[in-house]
């Protein structure tokens, strides 16, 4: 009887493992597809049946970073020889393509948008995490009347729909000239991430035993010294995890960026979809832009893997 049960249990386990593998592959398929498209020759990107095996090319990335009008004809040998090395990496449908042997290479809009995304995401992360850490310490260590209400107020600001906040912010920014500036977006993202940062950091600081600081206070440290020398180093992992979460949120944000910026301070999320435009988009270039944009997030997700649960539940569930 017992042997039968274990055998059926083992079979059940095997079915579960197979199901998990299939689900994992299904979930990764879209990401694999956009990644492989970023390295495809253009004529193989939109074939039926889909092309799975191909010789990877770097031309989508060269096209992504430089401004060009598509040339279909084969280049003149002289032009080809005079072209810079990266131009010689560009193929179209397997054919060599060179824009022109001479003339300055102009950057496309992409590198600029990528830089804007970096500037805005990093600055707002630094602001949100530093303010959030101080505030979390305040809430964690000192008693206060109406503490629960204040914490609810802080959390509720995170839940506001972006479009609702964007209408008055757009009018106010227009009045003070903050539309289409880095600072305009940085302020919005800092406000958005601040509540998250307070909640998450409070969870991390709550876990640091109070006795550490009390011992330091007995040793003659002031409260501020104890905070900087004892609490901050202990909270380093929590600060790093919170920072990565804030960075990813700001990096991914779309609605505010769409409404508040249009050119100078535009970040990548509103820019990448605008490349599709009308007519026949070059999906290899769009895929290349998408791939580069998603890459940092994918790396961070692996670094964060042990803190994801905590971050996603605003520090409510610890593990």
């Amino acid at each position: 009887m017992a042997a039968v049960q274990t055998r059926s249990e083992r079979a059940l386990n095997r079915v579960a493992i197979a199901a998990v593998l299939i689900i994992t592959l299904l979930f990764l398929a879209p990401i694999y597809w956009i990644t492989s498209t970023a390295f495809k020759p253009r004529n193989l990107a939109t074939t039926i049946p889909p092309t799975v095996i191909f010789e990877p090319e770097i031309s989508p990335f060269v096209k992504l970073f430089t401004k060009r009008s598509q040339l279909r004809a084969a280049p003149e040998p002289d032009d080809y020889a005079a072209a810079p090395w990266w131009e010689r990496l560009v193929f179209d449908g397997g054919e060599k393509v060179v824009r022109s042997g001479r003339g300055d290479v102009q950057l496309s809009g992409y590198p600029n948008r990528f830089m804007n995304s970096l500037i805005v995401a990093i600055t707002s992360t630094v602001l949100a995490v530093s303010m959030g850490t101080f505030t979390a310490y305040g809430f964690s260590r000192f008693k206060m009347k109406g503490e629960a209400d204040l914490l609810f107020f802080i959390l509720s600001t995170r839940m506001l729909p972006p479009v609702v906040v964007a209408i008055p912010m757009f009018l106010m920014y227009r009045a003070v000239g903050l539309n289409d500036t880095h600072w305009g977006l940085i302020i919005l993202y800092t406000a958005f991430n601040l509540s998250f940062s307070v909640w998450l950091m409070k969870g991390f600081i709550d876990e640091i035993p109070k006795e550490y600081e009390e011992a330091a206070l007995v040793d003659g440290y002031t409260r501020l010294e104890a905070f900087f020398k004892i609490v901050l180093p202990e909270a380093a992992t929590g600060i790093a995890a919170t920072a990565v979460f804030c960075f990813i949120t700001a990096w991914n944000e779309y609605a505010f960026a769409l409404i508040m910026t249009n050119r100078r301070a535009q970040t990548a999320p509103p820019f990448i979809p605008s490349q599709v435009g009308s007519g026949l988009p070059d999906w290899t270039v769009i895929a290349a832009g998408t791939f580069l944009f998603l890459l940092p997030v994918a790396i961070f997700t692996f670094l964060l893997r042990n803190h994801l649960l905590r971050g996603m539940s605003f520090g409510a569930i610890r593990k």
Binding site: I23, A29, I34, F142, M144, S156, P168, M169, L171, P273
Partner: protein
């Protein structure tokens, strides 16, 4: 009462005589954050509350005229706005249900001895970390009727997903399910792994069937954490903008955030859109309230 707490705190601290007092530090640490949030979140909302009673249009220089409750009255009597709310409700139901089924199902499968469990879980979590706007963009490639890989894999020929008014909302929901089922999975997994083993052992000794064990042991114990996932996803799906806006421009996918965006930034009916924003805001705050209550309940356990 408050003063009593503060003074006791102050006198207890030996550091009080050196450096800053505890109350000063607490205020120094907390007040800037509260002020920042008031200036950049609450003040704008007060500002837009004012505009919601006017016929202001940000595209013209004409001064705003006070119209009282007219915007609210018109919006609440507008069948098109109610249609937008109905679309949003349908979207919330389809996408949250899908996420719970897929996410909880996957968590049940993962809640056993599985090789490379950590790696698999991390890989499964990847979609929810990505930018919704960019995900929407590349799902356009997957949904393409002529060369999309979805039609090819399912043998659907040149089936229209996004250009088909009846299908578009489901297509958006499917993408949302792909992105956010991992979130439900993550929370469910935490709940499932917290169920004490001895309960299952006791159930096995009592020869309880798998259904009985699931409905009497597993589900009740996971329910609070699953509820957090459901309420949070409901709130997020209710606010959804990026995915639907990027994937399609069908009237059948015009969820309330897209209507609000168009009213404010394409039709420039600023006053009216502020009124609609307030109606949406009240609904979101109601859901937030339920969410926080649950969060606190789970925390206290």
């Amino acid at each position: 009462m408050a003063t009593v707490v503060m003074t006791s705190l102050d006198s207890k601290s030996r550091a009080a005589s050196r450096g800053l007092s505890d109350i000063k530090i607490r205020n120094l640490f907390i007040i800037p954050t509260i002020l920042f949030l008031i200036v950049f979140n609450i003040f704008p909302l007060i500002y837009s509350l004012g505009y919601s009673f006017t016929d202001f249009r940000a595209s013209t220089n004409a001064p705003a005229t006070f119209v009282g409750l007219q915007n609210y009255r018109e919006l609440l009597n507008d069948p098109f706005i109610w249609a937008n709310f109905a679309i949003t409700a349908k979207y919330v139901i389809v996408s949250v249900t899908g996420q719970v089924v897929v996410g909880f199902g996957t968590a049940m499968l993962l809640n056993r001895e599985i090789p490379f469990k950590g790696l698999i879980t991390t890989l499964l979590l990847l979609p929810m970390m990505l930018s919704m706007a960019v995900v929407g963009l590349f799902w356009k490639l997957l949904y393409d009727p002529s060369f999309g890989i979805i039609n090819y894999a399912l043998g659907l020929g040149s089936f229209e997903w996004l250009a088909n008014p009846d299908m578009a909302l489901y297509a958006v929901a499917i993408t949302d399910i792909w992105m956010w089922s991992p979130f439900v999975m993550l929370l469910s997994l935490a709940g499932l792994s917290a169920v004490p083993r001895h309960l299952y052992e006791a159930a096995a000794i009592d020869r309880a069937g798998p259904f009985y064990t699931f409905f009497r042991i597993t589900l009740p114990l996971v329910a609070p954490i699953l509820m957090i996932a459901i309420i949070f996803r409901t709130m997020e799906a209710f606010k959804t903008f990026d995915l639907a806006y990027i994937l399609t421009s069908q009237p059948t996918t015009e969820v309330i955030s897209i209507r609000l965006y168009k009213m404010a930034f394409q039709e420039w009916q600023t006053g009216r859109s502020c009124a609609l924003a307030y109606i949406v805001l009240i609904m979101v705050l109601a859901i937030t309230n339920i969410y926080v209550k649950y969060l606190n309940r789970v925390k206290e356990r």
